[in-house]
Symmetry: C2
Subunit: 197 residues, 2 copies
């Protein structure tokens, strides 16, 4: 398999972390996240959304969207519940991540890495949205060990990716002790790899 | 089942359309999308993201995120492929919808309905993002009858919801003839219901 990847991207890191934990081999090709001008040429035939990660499977066909890739490869493993309702709750958290978490916490971090100073109103909107996401996680994790079904699943992988680097975008995690304890539990899972390793 | 619902919301409409096509009965409770001040009280115990749709199942537990609800109820029906890779491609389009489509096309429409005049830069950003989403759909549908596997699935339900009302947010659909033909095919499916019906 060939992963169109980026080292800085939490969305790509999700896939690398899952593949490490499942022991899957793949090649990787780094795609620029700052200069996106070559995206139509590089990804146009593979992914209509022109995003990374995009994965080329062994049969030559492509699969995209980080959380769809997580779901595909975790089916039939301990990282995705067999119970239909628990599987749907995993998906609930995956959609939460892409709609209510990533657009705030990942984008604020991207701005910091890219040296972008957004207008004050936009920065405030990112801060509000990201804080709401972290509060939602804190409330949920206060009573739980992992996000779904009291065990480590791809929901934890998906939310870990950008939450653990949220401070890089200006989100302090100290006010969220249940999130902090959960991050540590995720890090303690067998075969965990870091974003840069 | 009890659906926390809103008549104007495309995300809620997805669930109503699926339930109509599966012949599922449910009660509904309208939740305001303009004044969201009662959300913590109404939805706080049910959905950390405080969004609609939120569904209370017969056992009293809750399931949220429109596309997670679609997946849960379509498993084992003709609306979700049995093939694992095709199922993942359905998910790819569901995540595309929530990340690359809804935040532009649905929000521009919401602004129009709410009488909000956003700053010019924000309106331009919505126009750019929504146009990119429609172009991605047009390119994909130019060679296909439905989004995944040449048959009607929940991917079509999810993308139909806000695409067919995109003009309400200022997106003309005339430049996207393959999208237009696909919208008509979706409307022709058995037991189709409209957003207001």
């Amino acid at each position: 398999m060939l992963l169109y990847d980026n080292t800085l991207s939490g969305n790509c890191y999700k896939v690398r972390l899952l593949f490490a934990q499942l022991g899957l081999d793949y090649d990787r090709r780094e795609v620029d996240v700052f200069d996106r001008s070559d995206r139509p040429e590089v990804l146009g035939e593979l992914n209509p959304a022109l995003r990374v990660p995009t994965l080329v499977l062994d049969d030559g066909s492509a699969l995209a969207e980080s959380n769809a890739i997580l779901f595909y490869f975790s089916e039939g493993t301990a990282l995705l519940p067999e119970d239909r309702l628990e599987r749907a709750r995993v998906l609930q958290w995956l959609f939460f991540e892409q709609y209510s978490h990533e657009p705030y916490i990942a984008v604020a971090r991207f701005w910091a890495h890219a040296g972008i100073t957004a207008p004050a109103a936009e920065r405030q909107a990112k801060l509000r949205g990201g804080t709401a996401a972290l509060k939602a996680m804190e409330g949920h994790l206060a009573q739980r060990v992992f996000l779904v079904g009291q065990r480590y699943t791809i929901a934890d992988i998906a939310l870990y990716a950008y939450t653990h680097v949220a401070p890089e975008g200006g989100f302090e995690l100290v006010p969220y002790p249940a999130v902090g304890a959960w991050l540590e539990r995720v890090r303690q899972q067998p075969s965990h790899v870091t974003m840069t390793g």
